[in-house]
């Protein structure tokens, strides 16, 4: 049975008519054209689909869209503020943290979750926290370096 839902995505309200079995990821990508969040494994293992729900990273591929009504959803498209990239996005570009790039939106979303909880993480803390995101190209060392750089930049520019 199709339901009418009101979603808040990146600060913008959307009305969608959806079947309850649809995942948040499929609505983002296939209905709303927000293709930044990626479909990886589809079963909550790889982290490519990570989005923020009320500020916390979750896996959009195993999140039914119906339970996200009334919550603040943030995708990688929503991190840019006033035409400026998020410090994590800047750092990923400067360090060259991506090879194929498919995992990167999920990586950045998870890293936003990390820096929210811990603004000054050590390298082991970064590795531990980011374990829910897989990179098949194996650019992990640069991803860790980018997160460290972004953490430093964020602390430098105030809270």
């Amino acid at each position: 049975m199709v339901r009418s839902l009101k979603l808040q995505i990146n600060g913008t309200p959307y009305n969608v008519n959806v079947e309850p079995e649809r995942s948040l990821l499929s609505i983002l990508r296939d209905e709303l054209g927000l293709t930044g969040s990626k479909y990886g494994c589809g079963e909550g293992q790889c982290g490519a689909c990570s989005v923020l729900v009320d500020g916390r990273p979750v896996r959009a591929c195993i999140t039914p869209v119906t339970v996200t009504e009334g919550k603040q959803i943030t995708t990688v498209e929503g991190l840019e503020k006033d035409g400026r990239l998020h410090p994590l996005q800047e750092a990923f570009i400067v360090i060259g943290a991506m090879q194929c790039g498919y995992c990167i939106p999920g990586m950045i979303i998870s890293a936003v979750g990390l820096l929210r909880k811990n603004p000054n993480p050590t390298e082991p803390e970064i590795r531990r926290f980011m374990e829910g995101n897989l990179c098949r190209c194996g650019t992990y060392p640069r991803i860790v370096a980018a997160i460290r750089q972004a953490a430093q930049a964020q602390r430098g520019s105030g809270p």
Partner: protein
């Protein structure tokens, strides 16, 4: 995924009235980290999904030194792991929650869902059920890939291991699980919540099809030191190969009383009562080694999982040492 009817009740009474009489007819949705995977694989094809996340009564953590800890079933694993009183008073529980891997899963996954998640046995997850059989009727686990299966409580026909991360800690801490149904609340000891199914129509817990796991009560931990230790193949994702949660009442330098529970070694969380008596009234590392020997005395490994016997011993010894040395 098969289409389903979706309901999102706001009271526990409404929720129960929406549940079916048979397992599988309806499913309870909380975090969804297990249910959605099962539904995507058509291992679960409910006619109706009942979202319980809007039931306020099942949310929240309450702690007081006198009454102990009350966990709503909807508390997320991340909330549990970060809770100051849980970390200080019940380290075994906080450590077990942290063992559930990836922050994304901990942010969605709930305490009730961890306890009710279905077996991770790869035959089960590929549609062969609890008791996988080949075309000639042969037992696929006994003759096949049993490296992650049970080493205790495995006289058959079930060989899967209970996947819950929190269960061993809750049993060690002597928790009670409260279930809500049409007749109201009923309470079971955490240890009695889990059962080994004897037929495919059963589940791995005493919860009935028209009941909801609502809350968990953990008694005050005054004078109790607790810890969880997991042995893992890798740090990221995945479930532990063997785990142990222990709660010790320490008297001076000796152990006055112990509750020792192994995880991922049997179809249910495995309480080691004989080993508990070995540890009680003693101090020193020899008694810890002896307790670990006694705990695994009855282990009957399958063709490919003999290594788990030693891993379980190690998990138990390290959990005891960690508890004895830890704060609280």
């Amino acid at each position: 995924m098969k289409a389903f009817e979706y309901a999102s009740p706001t009271t526990k009474e409404q929720a129960v009235s929406l549940l079916g009489n048979q397992w599988g007819e309806t499913e309870i949705l909380a975090g969804g980290t297990d249910l959605l995977s099962l539904m995507k694989e058509y291992l679960s094809t409910p006619k109706r999904v009942v979202n319980v996340k809007e039931i306020k009564e099942f949310q929240g953590i309450r702690y007081s030194p006198g009454a102990g800890l009350r966990l709503g079933a909807l508390v997320t694993l991340e909330e549990l792991m970060d809770h100051a009183a849980v970390k200080k008073e019940y380290p075994a529980l906080a450590q077990a929650a942290e063992g559930v891997r990836s922050q994304q899963i901990r942010n969605s996954g709930t305490v009730g869902g961890d306890l009710c998640q279905r077996p991770r046995c790869w035959y089960f997850r590929n549609g062969f059920g609890y008791f996988p059989k080949g075309e000639g009727g042969e037992d696929l686990v006994i003759n096949g890939e049993n490296q992650y299966h049970a080493i205790l409580g495995n006289s058959g026909p079930a060989y899967f291991v209970n996947p819950s991360s929190l269960a061993p800690a809750l049993i060690a801490l002597n928790a009670k699980i409260r279930l809500f149904g049409a007749q109201g609340w009923r309470e079971v000891e955490a240890e009695q919540f889990f059962v080994t199914p004897k037929s495919e129509g059963e589940r791995e817990y005493v919860l009935k099809p028209r009941e909801i796991l609502g809350e968990i009560l953990v008694p005050p931990a005054k004078g109790i030191k607790s810890a969880t230790y997991e042995v893992r193949q890798k740090e990221a994702l995945d479930w532990p190969l063997a785990a142990a949660s222990v709660a010790l009442k320490i008297n001076g330098t000796g152990v006055k009383e112990a509750r020792l529970v192994l995880g991922h070694v049997a179809p249910v969380p495995w309480r080691c009562q004989e080993a508990e008596t070995v540890l009680a009234g003693k101090s020193g590392e020899e008694s810890i080694a002896e307790a670990a020997q006694v705990a695994l005395k009855g282990a009957k490994p399958l063709s490919k999982n003999g290594y788990k016997v030693q891993l379980a011993r190690v998990a138990l010894k390290r959990a005891i040492l960690q508890a004895a040395q830890g704060g609280a």
